[in-house]
């Protein structure tokens, strides 16, 4: 199709502006982590890996990172089974009050994060659960659960129910049918969802901030607390961890389902 050159120029300029704005913080953090100076400066003071060496000696940062990984793993362990079963149920079965159920299951998206975080903080406080990591994992699982359900139900829609009937008429029990027919059919959705849950939980800041105490800060909270004081390049080096994990997740996502899946119209 022939497009007007003016339209091409206008749209392209906006797109390029967006790419620059989207990438600038990432690139700057990457660049700053390799500086040889003691403060972040422009033009940079030369190349060195000394800040990466420095964070190897900072136990606070390492522990915070470890805690974030634990939280993300708990989130995946909780949300993936729950979300997978719910996604299968919603897309395969006729459920009574499906409308009300959907509104209820979308609560984590409709209630703002600050509301969810405060609510869970009060609940966990009442149950005397604050101060350990697993409630944070549960909390990040709850607030992101709709992503998991969505990922699974969108791939369960392509599952042919006749396949399950065929398995059953060949003598497979309900468990065997589930593990050998149903689950493999939704695997791409499960993996996509699990990846999203891991990343979102690893990065979760506000809900973490509300649920941690000084002894169990997660990495985003640790970074937040440190940037209030002074900006040193060791924070940049730690932030590169997040950038690396994000890049890895994108590569896996692209390999498994292809990023283009997000452009498909429903």
């Amino acid at each position: 199709m022939n497009r007007s050159p003016t339209q091409t120029i206008v749209f392209w300029s906006v797109a390029i502006l967006c790419v620059v704005a989207l990438s600038a913080p990432t690139l700057v953090v990457l660049g700053a982590s390799f500086t040889a100076g003691n403060i972040i400066d422009f033009p940079p003071d030369g190349f060195s890996l000394k800040w990466y060496v420095a964070i190897l000696g900072e136990r606070d940062l390492q522990q915070a990172f470890l805690r974030s990984v634990i939280v993300a793993c708990i989130c995946v362990a909780v949300s993936v089974p729950a979300g997978t079963l719910a996604g299968i149920a919603l897309s395969k079965y006729q459920v009574k009050w499906a409308g009300a159920l959907q509104i209820y299951l979308l609560l984590p998206f409709t209630v703002p994060l600050i509301g969810s975080g405060i609510g869970l903080m009060l609940l966990f406080g009442e149950l005397r659960l604050l101060g350990s990591l697993w409630p944070i994992g549960i909390a990040t699982a709850v607030i992101n659960l709709p992503f998991m359900i969505w990922a699974v139900s969108s791939s369960a829609a392509s599952l042919d129910p006749d396949l399950e009937l065929a398995a059953q008429s060949c003598g497979a029990g309900p468990l065997q049918t589930f593990f050998n027919v149903t689950l493999p059919a939704v695997t791409p959705g499960v993996i996509t969802g699990a990846l999203l849950m891991f990343i979102l939980s690893l990065n979760e800041f506000l809900v973490s901030l509300l649920l941690v105490d000084a002894r169990i800060v997660t990495l985003p909270v640790q970074i937040y607390n440190s940037i209030r004081a002074i900006i040193t390049p060791d924070l940049a080096a730690v932030s590169v961890v997040f950038i690396a994990v994000a890049a890895l997740a994108i590569i896996i996502l692209d390999r498994i389902v292809g990023l283009e899946v997000f452009l498909k119209s429903k």
């Binding site: 949300s79 703002p112 405060i118 609510g119 869970l120």
Partner: protein, 314 residues
């Protein structure tokens, strides 16, 4: 010859035991209850949130006694009266609402051409590049991104260092309202584009071609054909961006430096600085109400767009 024994492997026996145990617990595989059993874990998980909301409601009705620092054991509407009478609340809600509206408008304005170029380009490589440029910040998280902006825009930041090289006095680029809005727009762009792109994919290119071949220039084709057809996507993207930016915490906290608080920051302060849990809880419910009313207003005026019920992408 194959050994006869292996024709019924141990894993099958194991499966048989599991199936037998399962049948004992749930005869006929749960029967008509199956979908409800499958939904139970998710319903329970979201239940923690529902119970949490009840706790917020309860706290919001208890008022802090400033002499004993205890909360009243009776319910009262005092916190709400205070919230509605103090100018502080109005200022902060107004700042958040105006900010969210500006951020939504700018984000849609930027996201639309981005999504359009990404969906319509014939180059698969370019499409992939635009997708990666979108997903990378989306996956990195708000704190690291805000940290990047601090490095770029700070008083000793890259922009000011570069300006100093050409002899310009340092500019105060951070800790003001525009900085917060700028950070929010950058944070919201991936959400906006990813919500818009499917709606644009659904518009056949031929229709645009038809419009232009009938003599419409690109501006008319855009306003009379593409934008009206993309309306559901624009509403969906708009609502998501509006609610997320209205309730955001990190950008006002980090890029606003405490002087540009949004409602979420005020709530945090009530809980962790002033320790007035009751007032904080009432602010939380007011924020949820303001957010829902704004979304309701949009739905009433423009329709529900791609967020219509059942659009949970089955």
């Amino acid at each position: 010859m194959r050994r006869y024994k292996t024709s019924y492997p141990i894993s099958w026996r194991f499966m048989d035991v599991l199936e037998a145990a399962f049948a004992l617990v749930l005869p006929r595989g749960g029967g008509r209850l199956t979908p409800y059993l499958l939904l139970t874990p998710a319903v329970l998980l979201v239940g923690t949130l529902a119970v949490g909301l009840l706790y917020i409601g309860d706290s919001s009705l208890r008022v802090l006694d400033r002499s004993t620092f205890l909360f009243s054991d009776y319910w009262t509407l005092e916190n709400y009266q205070r919230a509605f009478s103090e100018s502080f609340t109005a200022t902060i809600i107004w700042r958040s609402l105006v900010g969210a509206v500006i951020v939504t408008a700018v984000t849609l304005l930027l996201a639309f051409p981005y999504a359009y170029v990404m969906v319509r380009t014939s180059s698969a490589l370019l499409r992939k590049f635009l997708l990666v440029a979108l997903f990378l910040p989306f996956f990195i998280g708000q704190v690291v991104r805000a940290y990047g902006w601090l490095i770029i825009l700070g008083n000793q930041g890259i922009v000011n260092d570069a300006l100093a090289l050409v002899g310009v006095e340092p500019l105060r680029l951070l800790f003001n309202y525009p900085a917060v809005l700028f950070g929010l727009v950058q944070y919201m762009l991936p959400f906006g584009v990813l919500m818009l792109a499917p709606a644009l994919t659904a518009i056949p290119e031929d229709i645009e071609a038809a419009a232009t071949s009938l003599g419409a220039n690109w501006v008319r084709a855009l306003f009379h054909v593409v934008l009206p057809m993309a309306r559901p996507g624009l509403i969906g993207a708009g609502v998501v961006v509006l609610t997320l930016s209205l309730t955001d915490f990190a950008m006002p906290a980090i890029l606003g430096g405490g002087s540009q608080d949004f409602v979420a920051n005020a709530i945090y302060d009530q809980f962790f600085r002033t320790s007035d849990q009751g007032f904080g809880a009432s602010l939380t419910l007011i924020l949820i109400a303001v957010g829902s009313m704004t979304v309701g207003l949009i739905f009433a005026v423009f329709g529900a767009g791609t967020l219509a019920l059942g659009a949970n992408r089955k």
